[in-house]
């Protein structure tokens, strides 16, 4: 809402405050001031001139040479290209030395050999926005009324001496979407009661509304109030300058002397009005109803709109003539030819106006006010004022009476609050007198019963209906910054992370310590990427109405996002990539409304973890680099159940020979593998390894509790063994045999060598293990260990056909 400071001055005495101070106060007590606009900022040497002569410039198809009286001794010769320049016009002249918006300086100049002593200005040149410049002078200069005084400063004529306070109005303060509402708000700040001009309406007593119009509505819920007046014998023209000025400074384009009045009244009262060409209605009846399915109306903007039962229309008893509260119909709008005007002032259900404006994408000053509710106390006052003004400006006779539906008089709500409650909630120590003075400044009438204020809420503040609303009024007028600052005094509660939060933080720190950087990717991605690398089959969850294909589907895996991130980095010459992410994946949920959200962690390695340095050569990462990180993570989490890595070739996007599913007992909790070379190629990635684990599964898993084990007092011993086995025999198989036959003193088995190639029979591999033995209670005897070790050898030979080397 753009509030003209000059306009506000009509209601309040603003002598003792500057616009800046008032704007600050408004921000601190009620409504955020978006900006303070000074439209005339930087403008100077702009005067009223009178065009005396206009001559076509020879050799130019559009330039004119004019002689203009600017109040100086001699006429100024000014070259002007505007098509509408004419003799005897009063115009705005920028004299040599003048400054226009954008720090544009006007100098005496020569155009095609003709001296030009300045410029005759259009509104655009004076800094007016295209959206407010009247259509008829879009390409031309602005012509001032005849009364303008030659040589006078032109700024005040155009309202360029005004200051505009642009308010950012929250949905609860729709009362401030009117000049009167803002005047009350400013009045509260200044402890003044705004004063409004009394409107007198002279009706033609012999001409009765009944002879022109009756109104009715289909449903009172949809149309709680509908009033209409008629003015005859009007002459529609350009509005007087004061009216145009007010509209333009409020951001509204002047149209004609009828529509401008309806807009002006809407700005003053917040009550949207609509003016019909009475004759074009072609009926003596107005009926407001829901539109029929697929009913059509051509709105003012020339567009044909197809309607449905959620749209409310004003009809002439048969055809729609307006989209109620949103936009008038083309068939009935006011034109220059209009002689009889029907002025509507109504209340339409906000939800219907909202739906209509939204579905037809037709937001207007009018619809935004209906949507947020109206002051039920000024439906008629606004109508009367508009009617009087239309008659005054356009000439014409006011038909006696109002065509209206029956409406019960709106009553002021009673809302109560006690002093004790105010201080209890605000943490203040206000007295009865202090609170009373706040209600007086708000111009809220009240009665006081002991410490209870019973407030009669004025109709202009329809946002107030419960105690909390009054609390807010008291708090903001008292001043939020005067409220003391304390910390809650209450029963103490433990503030601690829950198991999942603690584990999640541990995972973060662990992976960071392993060299991985945390990323945060978009959960919404393309349908194709969303499904990639999913640990389990699931349908995806899709937006109903996405803004783009890029962000349409919720991810089933985190790896997909990490691969995107890796590709982004690789494309920027970063080949060493180490990333992780913790976040939700979204599985379908057959038994509920919402998808199953699972917290996952995923990691990605590509290139090397380190750079080549003067002292170290970087090792490229491989499957086992990443597996080690995952194994150590799972080990330090202390999961009780055995973790298994089972080879898997079912992932389309992972290397079929370099992928393992990770099992916690029987439960699949993760995956690790190399990105399929084909996919890596698509993303322009080198060998890239990834893992993903379900954090939720890790949280749920039973953990080992740490129990101190005494440091052994006796020395242990170890035996090394090298085997030659078929290359298809896995490490796990060997380990199983060793562990099953190791005897009771075997503590640990460590793989320390693996070789395949030269000097080894094709199809075989050489592997070597170190077996550590320890008896915690006595020194181990050589013979005992040898006996146990022989058993292992024998078993390896028998079970795996291993050759002991």
């Amino acid at each position: 809402m753009k509030v003209s400071y000059n306009w506000l001055k009509e209601y309040l005495n603003l002598e003792n405050i500057t616009p800046e101070q008032l704007a600050d106060q408004i921000t601190l007590t009620g409504i955020e001031v978006d900006s303070l606009i000074v439209p005339g900022e930087g403008l100077k040497k702009l005067v009223v001139g009178e065009v005396r002569t206009v001559e076509k410039m020879e050799g130019s198809d559009h330039l004119n040479v004019t002689q203009v009286d600017v109040g100086a001794e001699e006429l100024y010769q000014i070259v002007c290209g505007a098509p509408n320049v004419a003799e005897n016009q009063k115009v705005v002249v920028a004299l040599p030395g003048a400054r226009l918006p954008g720090n544009f300086k006007i100098k005496k100049s020569k155009l095609r050999g003709h001296v030009s002593n300045g410029m005759i200005c259009s509104l655009e040149e004076l800094g007016f926005s295209d959206s407010v410049i009247p259509k008829r002078i879009e390409d031309g200069i602005y012509v001032l009324p005849e009364e303008a005084i030659v040589g006078a400063d032109a700024l005040s004529y155009l309202g360029l001496d005004d200051i505009i306070i642009d308010l950012d109005i929250t949905p609860n303060r729709a009362d401030a979407m009117s000049m009167r509402g803002v005047a009350y708000e400013a009045g509260t700040i200044l402890s003044q009661n705004p004063e409004f001009e009394k409107v007198s309406l002279s009706e033609n007593a012999e001409d009765l509304i009944e002879n022109y119009m009756t109104v009715s509505v289909q449903a009172k819920e949809d149309t709680p109030d509908y009033k209409l007046r008629i003015v005859k014998d009007v002459i529609v023209k350009e509005s007087p300058l004061w009216l145009q000025r007010k509209l333009m400074n409020a951001g509204i384009r002047p149209i004609d002397s009828v529509v401008d009045v309806t807009n002006y009244i809407m700005l003053e009262y917040g009550q949207p009005l609509h003016a019909f060409d009475y004759d074009a209605l072609n009926s003596k009846e107005i009926y407001v109803r829901r539109a029929k399915q697929d009913e059509k109306i051509i709105t003012l903007d020339g567009q044909e709109r197809t309607l449905n039962q959620d749209n409310l229309v004003v009809t002439n008893g048969d055809q729609p003539v307006a989209l109620a509260g949103v936009m008038g119909g083309q068939n009935s709008h006011v034109t220059e030819k209009t002689r009889t005007v029907a002025i509507e002032s109504a209340v339409f259900a906000s939800s219907l106006v909202r739906k209509t404006a939204q579905s037809l994408n037709l937001r207007s000053e009018s619809s935004s006010r209906f949507e947020r509710g109206l002051n039920l106390g000024t439906v008629q006052a606004a109508l009367d004022h508009a009617t009087a003004l239309i008659a005054e400006i356009n000439g014409g006779q006011i038909v006696s009476g109002i065509a209206e539906i029956e409406v019960t008089k709106p009553l002021e709500k009673k809302v109560s609050i006690t002093l004790q409650r105010i201080n209890h909630v605000l943490g203040t120590e206000l007295s009865l007198e202090e609170v009373a003075s706040i209600f007086i400044r708000l111009q809220f009438e009240y009665t006081l019963v002991e410490d209870e204020f019973i407030i009669s809420v004025p109709l202009r503040r329809w946002d107030i209906s419960i105690e909390a609303d009054l609390l807010e009024e008291v708090a903001r007028v008292y001043g939020y910054n005067k409220i003391p600052s304390t910390l809650p005094m209450m029963e103490s509660t433990p503030g601690e992370l829950n198991d999942k939060q603690r584990l999640t933080r541990f995972i973060h720190r662990y992976l960071e310590g392993s060299g991985l950087a945390q990323t945060i990717s978009y959960a919404l991605t393309t349908p194709e990427k969303a499904e990639r690398f999913s640990m389990k089959p699931s349908k995806t969850t899709n937006l109903d109405w996405p803004m783009s294909e890029e962000h349409k589907t919720l991810r089933l895996s985190l790896i997909s996002g990490l691969v995107d991130n890796a590709a982004y980095n690789a494309a920027r010459q970063m080949k060493n990539i180490a990333l992780y992410e913790v976040g939700h994946v979204f599985y379908e949920n057959e038994s509920g409304n919402l998808p199953l959200e699972e917290e996952h962690v995923a990691g990605l390695l590509s290139g090397s973890l380190t750079e080549n340095t003067w002292s170290n050569t970087a090792q490229p990462v491989d499957f086992y680099t990443l597996k080690g990180i995952v194994e150590e993570l799972l080990e330090t989490i202390g999961i009780k159940e055995t973790i298994k890595f089972a080879a898997d070739s079912s992932f389309n996007d992972l290397h079929p020979g370099r992928t393992a599913e990770i099992y916690l007992g029987e439960e699949k909790i993760g995956v690790i593998g190399q990105i399929h070379p084909e996919i890596a190629g698509v993303f322009d990635l080198e060998e890239t390894y990834v893992f993903e684990l379900s954090v939720d599964a890790l949280v749920a898993a039973e953990k080992n509790s740490v129990l101190y084990a005494a440091i052994p007092k006796y020395p242990g011993t170890s035996r090394d063994i090298a085997l030659l086995v078929e290359e298809t025999i896995s490490h796990n198989e060997v380990m199983d045999v060793i562990e099953a036959n190791g005897g009771k003193w075997l503590q640990q088995v460590r793989l320390f060598d693996l070789y395949q190639g030269e000097h080894i029979e094709a199809g075989k591999k050489s592997i070597a293990y170190s077996l550590a033995y320890l008896n915690p209670e006595a020194t181990l005897k050589e013979e005992e260990v040898n006996k146990d070790f022989e058993k292992v050898k024998k078993a390896l030979k028998q079970e795996l056909n291993a050759e002991i080397r």
Binding site: H424, P484, T486, G495, T541, L543, N565, Y568, S615
Partner: protein
Amino acid sequence: MDLKEKLAILADKATQEMKSVSTVEELETLRVSYLGKKGELTQVLKGMKDLSADERPVIGQLANQVRDDLTNQMSMTRETIQKQVLNKRLAEETLDVTLPGVKPIKGQSHVITQIIEEIEDLFLGMGYQIVEGNEVEEDYYNFERVNLPQNHPARDMQDTFYITSKVLMRTHTSPLQARTLETHDFSKGPLKMISPGKVYRRDTDDATHSHQFHQIEGMVIDKHITMADLKGTLETLAKKMFGENREIRLRPSYFPFTEPSVEVDVSCFKCGGKGCNVCKHTGWIEILGAGMTHPEVLKMSGVDPEIYGGFAFGMGPDRIAMLKYGVDDIRNFYLNDQRFLKQFKVRG
């Protein structure tokens, strides 16, 4: 030449030779050649048998003294040589200590996670619990239960990604307030919670808008929680996040789930309030929304607003990170360029 003279010459000669010895090995050779079983001293002493009984003890004593002297000299020489050898070795081992060290590999958490954890830790210390929830929500919890019924004009303030007419991407973490309120057992104490997480809005991504971003909301409900308590809590937060000298300013605002509602400005941490680019020359930076929990929100969750009340506040970690570190494009947080991520490894 009598033995006495011979001993004196021997001692002199040995001392002289010792001076030109430069290694431990040479010294040992010298020692053997004088003091060894077949050494010169032994040779000289062989002449003892020709001496009278009177002279023997005198010469014997003299010989012992020569032996002791030489032994002492040799051990001192040995120490000197050893010291020289060590010094030489140390000199040879000198490093260029300005060469870079071998650093352990180290990643870092995302700057938004850092901000969130910092705020979490502050509130954990004040006895709050952290409540997390689903990013896909029911319209009912996301809107209706926070006092935003269908067709409420404030629904315009947040354009929403719908999945079905009843299911959506949460537009704020407020549904967790409703979900926690309806399960909290007030007989076991007050409710103090913060809820960090991702939220989604129907916005076109640009430098200042992101369809996905983060939010942290907090709520305290008990029998006597005041607006002054809200102010004190937010002041504590502002000082923690932006420095001890920060002040806050409350301005009236509107959120459907609180009343009174306020916007909270923090005095500019860059210019201290004098006015600069960061605060757009106002001296204040808008950082939070807050207010006293709306009685309808409590009522809908089965909490009696006549008895219980409290406050709620919300802020955007993305915005805080942008302000705090001067990040000028919100998309940086989600592109995951390693050159961006690595900048936040320093924990100031």
